[in-house]
């Protein structure tokens, strides 16, 4: 298989997904299916072809360095799982 169970464990860690051990073989098989399909790109000669990241080949537009956002903290934090005094709460990071 193109994607091993080890690969799946590694990629899950990188993607911050707590994959369960029992799901690893299924994901390895399904991802291998996609990777096998993608492998046909290897046969294409792309020497000298510039990679295309934007369909219109547009470049990042710049704007004046001025503040455009007003303060909406309370409103935007209303949908957060846990906040206190304007701060997002997470489990203790430092002992």
């Amino acid at each position: 298989m193109a994607v091993t169970e080890e690969d799946v464990m590694k990629v899950s860690r990188l993607a911050r997904l707590a994959i369960l051990e029992e799901n690893v073989p299924v994901y390895a098989a399904k991802l291998s299916g996609i990777v096998d399909m993608v492998e046909q790109l290897n046969a294409v000669d792309t020497t000298g072809v510039e990679p295309m990241s934007n369909p219109l080949d547009s470049v990042q537009r710049l704007r004046e360095d001025v503040a455009t956002e007003t303060d909406h903290r309370e409103h935007y934090q209303a949908c957060a799982p846990e906040v206190e005094k304007g701060l997002y709460l997470v489990p203790k990071v430092l002992e």
Partner: protein
């Protein structure tokens, strides 16, 4: 409030946007009556179809009353004033659930409006609700919704297509006269085809993506689905245009998309890509397409066979580029600022990892992992860079073809709708449902689908129309001309009469 009987309900919900607008402006009927007619049909029919995730009944009635007053006072006259509509549930709507059909956002009440939401609001439209979809717009059958699969109104054992399947089903069953969907690899055109409605994915960058929950940012584009090309044109007039809040928004003038609908198509050069008619295309779909092509020929169009030699590489390119961009976009769902959070996290990593694992469905997780794999150290050149190079070859094929023809036509999908459950375990077969729409998406070109008939199984067939960059007006003109001569787009599924 006046009571609407069911005959009038059926009549009101058969009207085009233009007829609705005329009737409202001339006080033949009120916005409240039109809104009530649609809400009544949703209540009657949507329990089975599941085309809506949220129906904003109270807000819709209240909004309709306000708009009625504004119209009577002469303050609101636009083409969408008083027109009901629905939004795919990935457009942020201030104060209304915006779930992306995901457990991750099952309680996410958006704190602001997407660009298109505020555009339609300002135009005086009445939001009926939020349409069901494949989770985070990833899917081709709507079976990836975390809430419920949508049924196809033409035969409820079949899928409506995806990912904008809820919107397409809602228009087909006349549970909304017009909806907005999004298309990343075919998510407007394929469900429009499966449900027998008209839909257009504009040129990449034509409609602002601000407030539209991102899947693959170099591909995502918003567009309307409605009964007719004319209704799509009227809607596109309101939503297209530059928006500085979307960094990829195109700074290109917006024409009046309704101005040239009646232009002649005599002498129109139509290219038929031979790759779109090769093995894999259902014979009945091919026959219906051929008949429609002949109808264009009879009206003076010139048909030319063309070739898109790299189009067979579009699906593999897409399944690198789209997952790569999705893995990056969906990293924002961390259980900290919004969305699902797991119970009793042990530490910060545990919070991220379990919140994401629990919140996302299987297909979304697969694509995140595929993207992470393709972008990970040691694989980047082999997959992502390579895919971006082949993407340019695919675009170049179109550029070459548009030197010879005005538009490209072909099937929107290789088959009519498939059965619910038929492809759920065959992911690669499911991916091939978008084989004819993905090349257009990768090139960033505008594409549309409009109904051109039915297969023997009674399910609709859609014609895909691909235009050159920013040529939406020409495409809408071509589809409109076809719809002036035919009534496929006006047919409604018997069970939803």
């Amino acid at each position: 409030m006046s009571q609407v009987d069911s005959t009038q309900t059926a009549e009101l919900t058969q009207l085009s946007l233009k007829a609705l607008q005329r009737g409202i402006q001339s006080s033949q009927f009120s916005v409240m009556e039109v809104t009530a007619a649609y809400l009544e049909r949703i209540a009657r029919f949507d329990a089975g179809l599941k085309s809506y995730i949220t129906v904003t009944e109270e807000q819709a009635r209240a909004q309709a009353e306000v708009i009625d007053n504004q119209i009577r006072a002469g303050e609101l006259k636009g083409a969408l004033a008083g027109i009901p509509y629905a939004l795919k549930d990935l457009f942020c709507t201030d104060g209304i659930l915006t779930s992306c059909a995901s457990k991750m956002l099952a309680n996410f009440v958006a704190p602001y409006d997407a660009h298109v939401t505020s555009k339609l609001k300002d135009a005086g439209g009445v939001l009926l609700g939020k349409n069901n979809m494949d989770e985070f717009a990833m899917g081709s059958s709507n079976e990836n919704s975390a809430f419920a699969p949508v049924q196809n109104p033409w035969n409820t054992d079949y899928v409506p297509g995806g990912s904008s399947g809820g919107g397409a089903a809602a228009v087909a069953a006349r549970l909304a006269p017009m909806v907005l969907g999004t298309d990343t690899g075919g998510s407007i055109r394929q469900p429009a085809s499966f449900c027998g409605v008209t839909g257009i994915k504009p040129t990449y960058g034509r409609v602002s993506r601000f407030g539209m929950i991102a899947f693959a940012s170099s591909l995502d584009q918003c567009g309307p689905m409605a009964v007719s090309a004319e209704d799509c044109a009227i809607t596109l007039n309101e939503i297209a245009g530059f928006d500085e809040r979307d960094s990829t928004s195109a700074q290109v003038d917006v024409p009046d998309y309704t101005a040239n609908l009646n232009d002649s198509i005599d002498g129109l050069k139509i290219g038929l890509p031979q790759e779109f008619f090769a093995e894999g295309l259902d014979q009945q779909v091919a026959a219906v397409i051929e008949r429609a092509v002949k109808a264009f020929e009879a009206r003076g169009a010139v048909i030319k066979e063309v070739t898109l030699p790299n189009s067979h590489l579009a699906v593999p390119v897409y399944y690198v580029v789209a997952p790569a961009e999705c893995s990056s976009n969906l990293s924002r769902f961390d259980g900290v600022r919004f969305g699902h959070r797991c119970d009793n996290p042990q530490d910060l990593n545990d919070l991220y990892e379990r919140s994401r694992w629990e919140g996302f469905g299987d297909e979304v997780k697969r694509r995140i992992m595929m993207g992470t794999y393709a972008l990970s150290s040691g694989y980047y050149d082999a997959y992502y860079l390579k895919a971006q190079q082949v993407r340019r070859l695919i675009k170049q094929d179109f550029v070459d073809v548009f030197n010879d023809v005005d538009v490209i036509m072909g099937p929107s999908a290789p088959t009519t709708a498939f059965k619910l459950g038929e492809l759920v375990d065959d992911q690669l077969a499911m991916y091939l449902a978008d084989i004819y729409t993905i090349p257009t998406s990768l090139a960033g070109l505008p594409g549309m689908s409009f109904p051109i008939g039915f297969a023997d199984n009674g399910l609709p067939v859609g014609m895909q129309l691909i235009g050159n960059y920013f040529e939406e007006a020409r495409m809408l003109n071509i589809a409109h001309q076809y719809q002036q001569q035919t009534d496929w787009h006006l047919q409604t599924p018997a069970a939803f009469a």
